[in-house]
């Protein structure tokens, strides 16, 4: 064994120093004190593709890329000059016909006996792989910074917890949501900082679940800062290292309280829209039945009565009751027609909305014996989407019904016009009015329709705004404004 080593050593000793210099595993360059190249080894030439003649009498920085040259002049040269050496300076060396070579360069300055620099020795290492790795590291760093910014800016509570439940990171979202600063929270047990409003499920239980390696995605009521109850979604990811060791977790809490309220409101709105649709179709059916069946039968009855009247002409004692019967039946027929009309006016199907409104107000005025002023703008032959026409018409009916039943008014003023891309319907009465401070305005009690709420919902369904103004003794004004997207 020893013989073998001795033999190799003997071989190496034979190796000439010149060969060692030329083919060392790194580039070597010697320059004068001003970095003018005096000597260069073969390894450097192989690494860079330069020729010995090509680099002779050049300054080393002239072989660097422009940024490398600037770095050389601003950092490299002063440091070599002032401290006598530099280590691991990262610069790129230009190569003929190839992309620049990333290198790391060490340099030492050699001084004469008077302390004056005479020359500089450089070693040049190929740093391609290292630079690539650094580049990945820099990219990863940038990414981490970006994620850091996102976590810092997030309204969600984002935290990480160690294997025994100690909080390790706690973002501003968590500070705000749970009311503990990161200084307070970090190092505490997660179940001390986060409290659930649920006797059967505690953060400790959640932690035990995750500890088994289970990711958890669920919702829970949490107690937030100031005791506020929050409906939160929770997403917890366990961190598992081979061979399956639990080393911690990250958790995101999102406060969905507001979102849930919005969803509930939206749900209510949808329910109301369905209700209105159901009401509409039910009215249509009843109207048809009244008109087609009862109406026809009533007509038959009235014909029969007329026949009877003629037949009973010889019996004077029957004349008065017959007359009464005829009048009563006609009244029933009229009422029936009005109810059927009210439920589902034919006008809305055949006429334009403005006309239908006018016809309805006149009939209503006649029926209830309340004076009506009608200011309806004729809008040529314009028809609007069925939804809008139906709902405006129903709002008018509802409002007039309220006037008839509760207001004891003697006149109403109905205005219908197009203005600034909106259809505007105003129903104004001079009746009793009401106070909003009462627990519930009388109009809201409903009377077969859906009351104020119904008018409001119908306006909202059409994307419009509904307002109502009233004071006791000062009458009531109802405004509905519905956009039609056509200015």
């Amino acid at each position: 064994m020893k013989d073998h080593a001795d033999k190799i050593l003997a071989d190496i000793s034979d190796e000439s120093l010149g060969d060692l210099y030329e083919h060392a595993p790194c580039g070597y360059i010697s320059t004068d004190a001003n970095a003018v190249i005096l000597r260069v080894n073969q390894t450097f030439l192989d690494l860079t593709g330069h020729t010995r003649e090509g680099v002779r009498n050049l300054r080393l920085p002239e072989l660097m890329t422009v940024p490398g040259r600037v770095f050389y002049d601003t950092h490299f040269a002063p440091m070599v000059r002032l401290q006598g050496f530099i280590k691991e300076a990262a610069v790129d060396i230009v190569r003929p016909g190839q992309s620049p070579l990333p290198t790391l360069i060490n340099a030492v300055q050699i001084e004469n006996s008077k302390g004056e620099p005479t020359h500089i020795r450089f070693t040049i290492f190929d740093a391609t792989e290292r630079r690539r790795f650094e580049q990945r590291l820099i990219t990863a760093n940038h990414q981490a910074e970006h994620f850091g910014v996102i976590i810092q800016a997030s309204l969600d509570a984002i935290l990480s917890v160690g294997p025994t439940g100690d909080i390790e990171t706690w973002n501003p979202g968590a500070e705000k949501m749970f009311g503990h600063s990161s200084d307070e929270a970090i190092g505490k047990k997660v179940w001390e900082m986060i409290v659930f409003d649920d006797p059967d499920y505690k953060p400790g239980d959640l932690f035990s679940e995750v500890q088994k390696g289970q990711g958890v995605f669920r919702s829970a009521m949490c107690i937030g800062s100031g005791g506020r109850k929050m409906f939160t979604s929770i997403c917890v990811t366990p961190h598992i290292e081979p061979p399956g060791e639990f080393v911690g977790l990250s958790a995101i809490f999102r406060d969905l309280t507001e979102q849930r309220q919005v969803e509930e409101a939206k749900h209510r709105e949808e329910m109301m829209a369905n209700l209105i649709r159901a009401e509409e179709s039910e009215r249509r059916r009843i109207s048809r039945d009244l008109h087609d069946h009862l109406g026809q039968q009533l007509t038959a009855i009235r014909l029969t009565i007329a026949e009877l009247q003629r037949a009973a002409a010889e019996f004077p004692q029957l004349s008065t009751p017959m007359e009464k019967l005829q009048i009563q039946t006609r009244k029933i027929d009229d009422d029936l027609s009005f109810f059927a009309f009210e439920l589902r006016p034919k006008e809305l199907e055949s006429a334009r909305l403005a006309e239908a409104i006018e016809i309805y107000v006149r009939k209503w005025s006649q029926n209830y014996d309340v004076g009506a002023e009608i200011h309806v703008e004729t809008m040529n032959s314009t028809r609007f989407p069925e939804k809008i026409e139906n709902n405006i018409y129903r709002i008018l009916q509802e409002a007039l019904n309220n006037v008839a039943k509760y207001a004891s008014a003697d006149t109403v003023n109905v205005i219908f016009k197009k203005h600034d891309g909106e259809l505007i319907l105003i129903i104004e009465d001079n009746g009793d009015g009401f106070s909003f401070s009462e627990p519930k305005p009388p109009q809201d009690r409903g009377h077969g329709g859906l009351g104020i709420l119904g008018m409001h919902e119908r306006t909202v369904i059409c994307g419009g705004r509904f307002t109502i103004e009233s004071q006791p003794g000062k009458g009531t004004t109802v405004f509905a404004r519905i956009p039609i997207g056509d200015k």
Partner: protein, 260 residues
């Protein structure tokens, strides 16, 4: 933190007339180590570290203030006022030639002479103006400094981080040259290479010497000539040396000062 501590100001020398040396991008007050011995017998030598470089106080770094060269000029004026220096000869290297110029304009009563070594009012070419770099070239340069954090950190180790809390590091730092906080150096590179001070040249009233080297990649000869042309009454010396090194200029400075 006093101004003198903030900028790690050092003062010595047997003379009375102050000579204030301002280092540029890439180094610290050590830059002047080889030059100051030639002046310390006749002048009062003042050197300091720009905030972010050398042993300056890193906690004083204000990104807003140091986003322009004016912020650095403010520091120069503050040092001069703190020491109540008068008749100051300001020696500025590289970007600090411009920082010195801005300081001399703002507090001209304090400065008698401005010695600019390798100055450049604008590094990027602009129409007829030759700055030495194309816009892309400067972007590439800044990218290099941006991506070269790790390479830098090694070359300029030790990086000083929160040294005020670790006084035991002071001894080690004493032996380090041109140390810089990489993040601050990265921003200083941007401020340096993207600034444009051409409009500041004509208003200089301080007596000015411009020292230019033959082969300076950072501030080439046409830039030095441009400064000379636009700074009223300035003297201009072209020396037969290569690179951007400051210490080579000492003989020209001596001659100039002897003739004043």
């Amino acid at each position: 933190m006093s101004i003198l501590e903030r900028n790690n100001v050092k003062i010595w020398g047997s003379g009375t007339r102050p000579m204030l040396f301002v280092h540029g991008f890439g180094c610290d007050q050590h830059l002047w180590r080889l030059m100051t011995p030639r002046f310390e017998d006749d002048y009062r030598v003042v050197v300091f570290d720009q905030v972010g470089a050398g042993r300056s106080d890193l906690s004083s770094y204000d990104p807003e203030k140091y986003s322009t060269l004016d912020g650095y000029a403010t520091d120069v004026i503050e040092i001069v006022e703190e020491l109540d220096l008068k008749d100051v000869i300001l020696v500025g290297h590289s970007v600090s030639a411009m920082i010195g110029l801005l300081a001399a304009k703002r507090a001209s009563e304090r400065f008698s002479d401005l010695i600019m070594i390798g100055p450049s009012p604008r590094y990027i070419d602009d129409g007829d103006y030759v700055g030495g770099f194309t816009r892309d070239g400067v972007e590439e340069l800044l990218q290099f400094f941006e991506n070269n954090h790790l390479g830098w950190a090694a070359a300029m180790a030790p990086v000083i981080m929160g040294n005020e809390n670790r006084p035991e590091l002071a001894q080690e730092l004493e032996t380090s040259f041109c140390a810089a906080d990489p993040e601050i150096a990265r921003i200083f590179a941007r401020v340096t290479f993207l600034s444009d001070n051409r409009a500041d040249l004509p208003g200089v009233t301080t007596s000015t010497l411009i020292i230019q080297t033959q082969d300076d990649v950072i501030a080439p000869v046409p830039v030095g000539e441009y400064c000379h042309k636009h700074i009223p009454g300035s003297k201009y010396v072209l020396i037969d040396a290569t690179g951007h090194c400051a210490h080579l200029s000492a003989p020209e400075m001596t001659t100039y000062l002897a003739e004043r």
